[in-house]
Every structure is written in C-alpha cells, then in structure tokens.
C-alpha cells in the first residue's frame, strides 16, 4: 500500500521535474530540475529492489555529472535566456505535430514491449551489489572491459585537447 503511494508521488515528481527542465528559462533551474528527475528515478529503482543502481544513480548522475554541469553554468555565468520570436509555422503546427510524434513513438514502443504485468514491489532480488558485481565479471565481462577502455580513451582525448589550448 505505502509503496504504491511512494511510487505515485515519485513518478509525478519525475514528470513535473522533466517538464520543468524544458520550461525553465534559467540554465541553473533546468539543471536542478534534472537533478530532481534523477533523484525521483533513484527512489523508483529503490522501490523495485535495485538498491545498488539507485545509489550509483545518485552518486554518479545526481552528484558528479550534475555538479560539473552546475559548475560550468556558474563559471560561464550564463543568464536567463530570452524567448525566441515564434514563427507562424511553429505557432500553428507545433503542438499537433508534437502530439503526433509522441503518439507514433508510444505506438511503436508499445508494440516492442512484452505484454504488461502487475508489478509487485520488493519481490525481485538481484539488485544487490553482490549480484551486479558477479554479473559484471562473468556474463558481461567483455562489454564492461570495452566500456572501461573507451572511457579511458575519452579521458586521454580530453587531456590532449585541454593541453593544446594552454600552449
């Protein structure tokens, strides 16, 4: 009972924050809305029993990545954005086209998804750090290592680019 209520509240918060992210004019407000989305998603993961994923979401996305976003926005001192003058095309056809697009997307995703079942909160085990660690080092070893090397290359690339600028 109580997990359904937590789910409803967090789902609403996630959707509202998602809209807010697009609607806000100030970059900092948008960034904070994104943190709100990530936080409520972490609670949803927690409800489903994926405790490690929830905490990783908060540490990596909510913490490290978004702090860098906020840091850069503050450093560049980006101000409030002005609303662009709307074209007649966007004014008339914008909303109907958006609805069509979202409808089409929903239809396609609906076809791909397996048939819907009732979700039983807390019944799934397999989200602990131990389970995920075992999977990462057995079944998904190759993708895991490939991604590590890829990220290492990206870091080296960033260092090379930053160095050239200083010289």
């Amino acid at each position: 009972m109580i997990d359904s209520w937590i789910f409803i509240i967090c789902a609403i918060v996630a959707v509202v924050c998602g809209f807010n992210l697009v609607l806000q004019k100030h970059p900092i407000a948008s960034a904070l809305s994104l943190i709100g989305v990530m936080g409520s998603l972490a609670v949803l993961y927690l409800l489903l029993g994926a405790e490690f994923l929830a905490m990783a979401q908060m540490i990596v996305y909510g913490g490290a990545v978004m702090v860098l976003f906020v840091f850069v926005i503050m450093l560049l001192n980006a101000g409030t954005e002005k609303a662009s003058t709307k074209s007649w095309f966007a004014q008339i056809l914008g909303l109907p086209l958006l609805l069509c697009f979202v409808g089409l997307l929903a239809y396609l995703v609906w076809g791909v998804l397996p048939p819907l079942r009732d979700v039983d909160f807390g019944s799934w085990v397999g989200g602990t750090a131990q389970h995920i660690g075992e999977l990462l080092f057995t079944t998904y070893l190759l993708p895991f290592e490939v991604i590590s090397v890829l990220i290492l290359i990206a870091i080296l690339g960033a260092v090379v680019l930053a160095r050239r600028e200083i010289e």
Binding site: L32, F52, M55, M58, A64, V67, V70, A129
Partner: protein, 395 residues
C-alpha cells in the same frame, strides 16, 4: 505496530543526542581553541560558559533576516535548506551498538540498517555540494560565487581519494552495510590486539585511515582546507550574504558533516562500537573514566583557581559520579557500554579536528588541488591495489 513505536523512540533519542552534540561541539571547539591559544574561551554565560550554545541560538534567532535585493530569491532560500537537511539525514544509518533485546523485542541500536549504507553516505555527500554551490551563486556576490566555485571544485577533487580509500576496508569486510562492516572487525589477535581495520590482517589500513581523515577534512571544508570561506581572501566565502537562521543552517550543517565523517571513520577503520580490549574488563572502562573525571573535579574544587570554582566543580563531580554509577549497573551496561565506546572513538576524532584547526595554517588554493591530485589520489590508489592483492592472495 511495535516496529513503528520502537523506531519512533530510537529516532527521538538519536535526534536529541545529535542536536545536543551539535550545540555543545561548538562550545567544546571554542574552549579547546582558546586553551591552545592560552585564553579561557566562553566563560560568562553559565558556569564555565556552559550556557553559551543556548545564548548563541537566541542571538542567531533574533538577528535581522536579510535577503540581498539582487539575489535569486528562490535559490537563495533553497540553499541552506538543502545543506542542513542533507547533513542531518546521514546520522539515520549510523549503528551505535549491537542488537539488543528489550521487553522481548529485539532491535538494533541504529535507526535503520541499510544494505548499501556506505553508498548511501557517499550519495548524500555527492548531492550536498549543491547547498554550498547554490548559496554561492544565488547571493549575487563575487566573494560568494568564488567561495561556491572553490567549494564545488574542492569537494569533487577530494571525493576521489575518499571514495577510493573507502573501498579497501570494504574489501576486508566483504559487505556494504555498516553493521556487517563493524561485525567483521570483532575479535582480537593474540587475545588483546583488536581486529579493527587499522590493525586488520592481511593489510592494516593505517595509511587508509590517514588518507580518509585528510580527505574528510577537505570534504567538510574545515581548516586547513577551508578555502571556500577563507576570511582573508573571500570575507566569509559562500555564506557572506547569509544572516540569522539561514546562517545558522550552514553552521549546523558544517558541524553535522563533521560528526558524520568521524562516525564513518570510526565504523570503517576503528571497529565501531567494539571495545579496545576484551569484554569483562572493557565493560568497566566507562565507569573508571567517569570516576577519574569526578576525582579531577573534586581536586579542582579543593584548590579553586577562581572563586566560583568552589561551588561549580563539586556539582560537576557529583554529576560524573552519577554517570559512573549508571554505567556500573550490569543490566544497563548491555545497552550503554557499546555506544560509549563508539562515542569515545568518534569524540577522539572530533577532538583531532579541533586540534588541527588550532595548530595548522591554511593551504593555498593551488597547493590544495596539487595535493589532492598528485599526492593523495595516487596514495589512495596504491593502498587499494596493495589491499586487493593481499586479500586475493590470502583468500
């Protein structure tokens, strides 16, 4: 139903003790700093300035609450709220003692035992940067902005060695929950050396402990790493524009973060609530310490340095004796001795915090970054590699 009532009782107890600690930590800090600098510290309000925290709270509450006209008002008000609420949350998963049975109901001396406790602490730490960063940015003041930027850069940098060094005790404990980590440190080598992680075979975590404490100083923005609020450069850093209760929120969050980081250090490296030496004797250490404190009080009452010491010190002596008697009752010992050991270790670390503040000069900002990335980070990495290698070889 029992669960809710017991949880409520535990929350009330932990909250009351935590809040008192926060208030008196500041009194202790001022006293210790004063004695390091050959002063007497707060002395006027109450005996030996013991009522000073109360007076400070009234002062802060009655000050004028200013909002700068060009501040971004929403974020300006949000920042202290984020800072203080995140700082106070972490205490809820810290275990203070083992499982106890009272009136047929078994419970832990802890508000809740989270499976991924240490990750929870890290997540809270990662998000709490926003309080400081937002405060600095929304005040619309160059000093505040510089303080906020410095703080976020510093906290990101020092989070790396902190996180890496936490992994090593986790490798020894093989679990992420604080309760299991502490339980893995129970027992003694040769009957008297505790199996705390700083002594734990195959690789004692003594270096890990030192790195953790250094990084912890930086994470909590304390001296010698308090660059975000360096007075001679930035007035008061990120909270320059804050006054009254909003300033008190930042103040409280700083002390709460200090308490949290010392609690985590105690749990990860110093064996949590496990005593220094085996059980039948260690149960009487609290009593012995309180009796010793009472004797000191009575001694000073006989030889008063000031006139009123004749009246105040006997009162303190009697209070310490009452505490000694409480800790000597065998039924109560089961509940109170483990938290006493926990508090003693965390208190010693808190004292180190204050001691360092009184004795070390502040870093320069480039030195601070250099230190984090070129010394602390490789050290933490080497510590982790050695621990992992030895743990793999032994198991």
């Amino acid at each position: 139903m029992n669960f809710f009532i017991v949880s409520l009782i535990k929350i009330v107890i932990v909250f009351a003790v935590f809040m008192t600690t926060l208030a008196y930590l500041q009194w202790i800090e001022r006293k210790v700093l004063a004695h390091i600098q050959s002063r007497t510290g707060p002395l006027r309000v109450g005996p030996h300035g013991l009522m000073q925290p109360l007076a400070d709270v009234f002062k802060l509450l009655t000050k004028e609450d200013l909002v700068p006209p060009y501040a971004n008002k929403f974020f300006y008000l949000l920042a202290p709220f984020i800072a203080v609420s995140l700082a106070l949350i972490s205490i809820s998963i810290i275990p203070f003692g083992p499982a106890v049975t009272a009136a047929g109901y078994q419970t832990f001396e802890q508000i809740s035992d989270v499976n991924v406790g240490i990750l929870f602490i890290l997540a809270i730490g990662a998000v709490s940067v926003y309080g400081v960063a937002l405060a600095g940015w929304s005040s619309n003041n160059k000093y505040s902005l510089l303080g906020g930027l410095r703080s976020s850069a510093q906290m990101i940098s020092y989070e790396l060695p902190l996180t890496l060094v936490i992994v090593s005790p986790l490798l020894l404990a093989n679990h992420l929950s604080f309760r299991s980590i502490t339980e893995s440190q129970m027992g003694y080598y040769l009957g008297f050396i505790p199996r705390w992680n700083i002594f734990q075979m195959p690789f004692p975590q003594i270096f890990g402990f030192i790195i953790f404490m250094i990084a912890g100083f930086a994470e909590t923005n304390r001296l010698p790493f308090d660059l975000p609020e360096a007075e001679n450069e930035l007035v008061a850093g990120f909270h320059t524009e804050y006054s009254s209760m909003k300033f008190a929120c930042f103040f409280m969050s700083e002390y709460a973060n200090m308490v949290t980081i010392t609690c985590v250090a105690t749990l990860l490296f110093l064996g949590g609530w496990t005593p220094l030496f085996p059980a039948p004797y260690s149960n009487w250490v609290p009593t012995a310490v309180f009796v010793f404190a009472a004797i000191i009080c009575f001694f000073h009452a006989i030889q008063p340095a000031r006139k009123r010491d004749k009246y105040t010190f006997p009162v303190f002596g009697v209070m310490f004796l009452i505490l000694a008697v409480i800790w000597a009752i065998p039924i109560i010992q089961r509940f109170l001795v483990p938290p006493w050991w926990f508090a003693a270790k965390a208190g010693a670390l808190l004292f180190t915090y204050i001691w360092v503040r009184g004795t070390l000069p502040r870093f320069r900002y480039d030195q601070l970054m250099h230190f984090a990335w070129t010394f602390l980070f490789p050290c933490a990495l080497a510590n982790l590699l050695l621990t992992a290698l030895l743990v793999a070889l032994v198991s």
